[in-house]
Symmetry: C4
Subunit: 175 residues, 4 copies
């Protein structure tokens, strides 16, 4: 049944802190926050974009560091400094005419709670807070910033035969 759900996903939505990062923010005297992203997550995200999946970012945090990182991966739907994640989610649903079962969301903390109840496939990293784990349909064995994002992107792309195949068979030739 989980596989069936993966097959329907066309859209990924990710929170940033604690999901695409391990939750650390490095504060500098200038007031800038440095965030630590994972290169293996990055590989999966840019591949998903290239394969035609919709990838969106919705974060309460903000900063040029995040903006530039996500743009560099080919992501265009980047919403930072968001107070109401549900409102942004609704916008995306309308813009791309999405059904909930097409959407995988990964969040890790209470600000993700409401929006995660709307999507078809709410997921979280291994180190999400208990409230979020309780409503997730899939809990990655990996922590935020430690390939939890890679894990879910890879799972969807594999089921849909869009992931790397070291030994492509004739049956895959049309991909």
């Amino acid at each position: 049944m989980f596989l069936t759900q993966l097959e329907k996903i066309t859209t990924f939505i990710f929170d940033v802190d604690g999901v695409l990062t391990n939750g650390d923010i490095i504060a500098s005297d200038s007031g800038e926050y440095l965030r630590t992203f994972n290169i293996k997550d990055g590989y999966a995200l840019q591949l998903a974009v290239k394969k035609g999946y919709q990838v969106a970012i919705i974060s309460g945090g903000s900063g040029q560091a995040m903006q530039k990182r996500f743009e560099g991966l080919g992501i265009t739907e980047i919403f930072l400094g968001v107070a109401d994640k549900v409102a942004v989610y609704q916008q995306l649903v309308v813009k791309y005419q999405l059904e909930p079962e097409q959407i995988l969301y990964m969040g890790d903390d209470i600000p993700d709670f409401k929006v995660m109840q709307l999507v078809g496939l709410p997921t979280c990293p291994a180190d999400a807070v208990p409230e979020i784990k309780a409503i997730s349909k899939y809990i990655s064995p990996y922590n935020g910033g430690k390939t939890a994002v890679r894990d879910v992107v890879e799972k969807v792309l594999r089921v849909q035969h869009q992931w790397f195949d070291a030994n492509p068979s004739a049956a895959d030739s049309g991909k």
Copy 2:
């Protein structure tokens, strides 16, 4: 009995290095120190401020990075570069007319030792030094910078019905 103590808390006081961070300080050539804060701690702290708790920071360290981070969370009582933590503590007690049993303090090393003997609820992260563990009434299972602060703020707010409630009952409607 620990629950009874949590019920009386109106004020949180935190050391910074090793409590709100994992104790790492990242040194740059300019002489600036970068510090790594945790986003889940941040969520709990801003919520405590919004709910009307007094939150204070007392640190021997200093720098704009810390000042801006804590201001961004809504904290107003920020004391950096402090040599004598007891003196600052006494100031706060007078200013807000606090009783010791209203105060939860979290520290991790010897400079916190004296002030922790004055507060009603001295607490520490899992990786505090032995001297501090010995006088703490609660030792968080989490390390400094790894949600030890979230842990104690959440515990207090939960007992006082101020934490997130996914399924609010009629009895909570007055909150």
Copy 3:
């Protein structure tokens, strides 16, 4: 047989992210990425260069931080921002007239897959992705950025009597 392979190595080629680093990239507002290198890897790399081994870097990432770090270790063959690792590899093979069995490569993710099938001794860190582990002849017990590189450089230099010897015997006197 593995020892025999180590004896033939004259050339090391390394991917960067996830191999010479733990895969974290620290994003700043300026768009710069900070990368975290390991000092023990650095010791091994500069020693290999001094002992006359060819050391090359091939990375899809780019930036002055990497360029300067590797130059500082004495490495001259530094290829950054590479889309096609096989093409760069072929260049190096021609330039230095290398046989595959002279080359040890360490990679960790799918962009390393093709080139790793060409070299004599494909290796990877403990936390490489499954696709890469499957084609590696040696999987280091250490993670990327946590001395996986030191591990393979040291193994080669030891077998070839070029590593540190606390008690050199008469037989080594010619080295």
Copy 4:
């Protein structure tokens, strides 16, 4: 016997990378390296200086970040960019008329090997390389940058009744 050795120590000498840090160096585009120090190590070092111990730093690395960090702790004998650690060591021995048994050295890698054979009490972090562990008289249970330095400073100061004492007895009143 180990306690007897600790009682004679008047001088600490530390390598930096892998001892006072976890061995990570964070490279920026400007060519600067950020290094991550531990606040608990810092507390022990400044205390040792205040109590009159000689504390010296000898590192192959260099940079204003290190210089400023160590100066901030009150350390005056700071030798950076050192190619020959033995030469600097000999200088210190002459300048302060030191006997080997008065000196505790902590190193972690091969560049520390020779100098560690000269001092009375060679020590290392838990994650030192095998060559260094083999010649250390004490291996800290803590890793470099993770309070290995605190561990040895605290051990010496405790034995000499110079460490923090929560309940000073009359017998200590002369200290």
